[in-house]
Amino acid sequence: MLVANRGEIAARVIRGARELGIRTIAVFSEADRTSPHVLHADEAYAIGPAPASESYLAVDKLLDVARRAGAVAVHPGYGFLSERGDFAEAVEQAGMTFVGPPAAAIRAMGDKTEARRRMRAAGVPVVPGTDSPLASSQEAEEAACEAGFPVVLKASAGGGGKGMRVVRTANEVGDAFAAAAREAQAAFGDASIYVERFLERPRHIEVQVFADRRGNVVHLFERECSIQRRHQKLLEEAPSPLLGPGERERIGEAAVRAARAVEYVGAGTVEFLYHGGEFFFLEMNTRLQVEHPVTEMITGADLVEWQFRVASGEPLPLRQEEVPLHGHAIECRITSESPFEGFLPATGVVRELTLPGGPGVRWDGGIAVGAEIGLHYDPLLGKLVAHGRDRAAAVRRMIGALAELRIGGVSTSAPLLARVLDEPDFLAGRLSTSYLDDHAELFEDDLSESRRDALLVAAALLEHRRRRERRVRRITREARPFAAWRRSLLFGTAPATP
């Protein structure tokens, strides 16, 4: 089985396959020669230089490696080629199994405007907006006025926040349309943009669905992913802290309906915006999601294992009423960003990596000591997941795990997440996708006196020792006559008397 991906998700898929006795084949760009997924796979092959367009997105190279290595299946992970219908098709045409949904389902959901049409037809609630890509900024402005401001411009081929812009007045539409189209072109190779009403302070709630090739579809409950920055999720949890059992059932059923509407097979996520007691279909991600571990922790299901079983034609292992729900799980995305400097991408070499342990703590990582964090790929370094009896227990466990996590050499999102986990609105479950904008105090400096004194003392002691050591070295050197002599000879002055 070839894993057409890198980083933590490639490592995750390799683990899942290995446990089923499947031979694993990794691919790597020049930047990833010694990444964990290369070390852990049975085999690994180079596929080109660091830029994804010349390696992880190079379909021909991937298929060539798959054929040469004798792969019978290809797992796309998430991102990269995972939601490209053409890739799924090419894999199947090469006589291999694509571990994912059929190309038709990918395409139906990949075209966001087409997806909206089909969802509306299937009786899944949808946010007001356009059903077809916009031809010009002119047309965008008209559509925006019709849907009612504020609106959000989105990439038809998109997902993950790229090519998205919120617009509040008509005269901002032009600039935003151009920027979104540029980003969409760069990220997905498709500049199509559509418009939707923008819901103020909605919650992002998504449902994990799974379908086999025999027409069975189940959901594995929802995930709350409201803690976002610019539509990039930072922290996810399952179940959602404020959904009642009735709502949980309704949103789960809607998600199953959505999957059925496109004859879905495999793992998928139906994303909803939840606003004022209503939920609206946002999009469906036709792949394994970054945040799938929280669902694994509350259900005990191994979603990668399920993917392989479904891909090999097996039925789903559980019926809907058999899916258990135990406790609460939280995931923190540890990204190479400087949250206190406007989330600037951070680069560097990982000098230290100390992972937390103990009960209910899971790390899914894509880095090791010595890894060079560059700008070629997503900033996700790894995911820290904590499970507890209830939400409060999971939060406390995560706070402890974040305190134990030590990544030296590159700034990460961890310190901000630790603050979120201790913030009253978060603890009360008062979440929305505007959470971070609404809590500017999280970004303030607030050293306690004891912590500040610790920094001062550490620096003073380090400087004090450094000076003392330098003095010792100087004295030692002076005691060795040749050292001074040699130096002076070289530089043409008279030898110092020893």
Partner: protein, 177 residues
């Protein structure tokens, strides 16, 4: 020597504190007295500091003469340590607040210039957008840190830039006529 006291002026976030090391394991910060023990822990920069028993897990990196970068809870802080003489000199020359801010906009990370939204001669207010840089597939807006007048634009759209490369030079409002 180890039994004596050494006095340092230690600056953090623009504020100066007096730290006295010694005698023995005693350390005093602005008069607050601690028993302190610092030990290297881990592969590279890791350190364990115990202050009156309280355990602090830190990363510390030497960043130049007297300059230390110390990371606690995943956040990095720049700390400057001066001995008494240097601190006195610094006070006299009035430079205690560190180097003056350079009137320019630098690239905060390597990336691709998407757009420069200002032109020489223009006046910008603090918070105005000055440039857009693409990095990691995301566009990042760079904004002016203070009111200023644009003196020079040094890069153009499509150009790849290194971290800390100067993109735009300003003439400070104060310096402008």
């Amino acid at each position: 020597m180890t039994g004596g006291e050494t006095r340092y002026a230690v600056a953090l976030s623009g504020k100066q504190h007096e730290v006295v090391i010694g005698p023995g394991d005693a350390v005093t910060v602005d008069g607050r007295r601690y028993e302190a023990s610092l030990a290297s822990a881990g592969a590279a920069a890791g350190h364990s500091l115990l202050m009156n028993g309280a355990s602090h897990d830190l990363l510390a990196r030497h960043a130049g003469p007297g300059a230390w970068e110390i990371e606690a809870d995943g956040r990095a802080f720049a700390v400057e340590v001066l001995d008494e003489r240097a601190a006195a000199v610094r006070r006299l020359s009035g430079a205690a607040k560190g180097p003056r801010s350079v009137p320019s906009l630098k690239a905060p990370m390597p990336g691709l210039v998407v757009r420069i939204t200002v032109a020489p001669g223009e006046t910008v207010a603090a918070g105005d957008r000055v440039a857009i840089i693409e990095a990691m597939k995301m566009e990042n807006e760079l904004r002016a840190a203070a009111d200023a007048c644009v003196a020079k634009v040094l890069v153009s759209p499509g150009q790849a830039v290194e971290k800390d490369q100067v993109l735009v030079e300003f003439a400070n409002q104060a310096a402008a006529p």
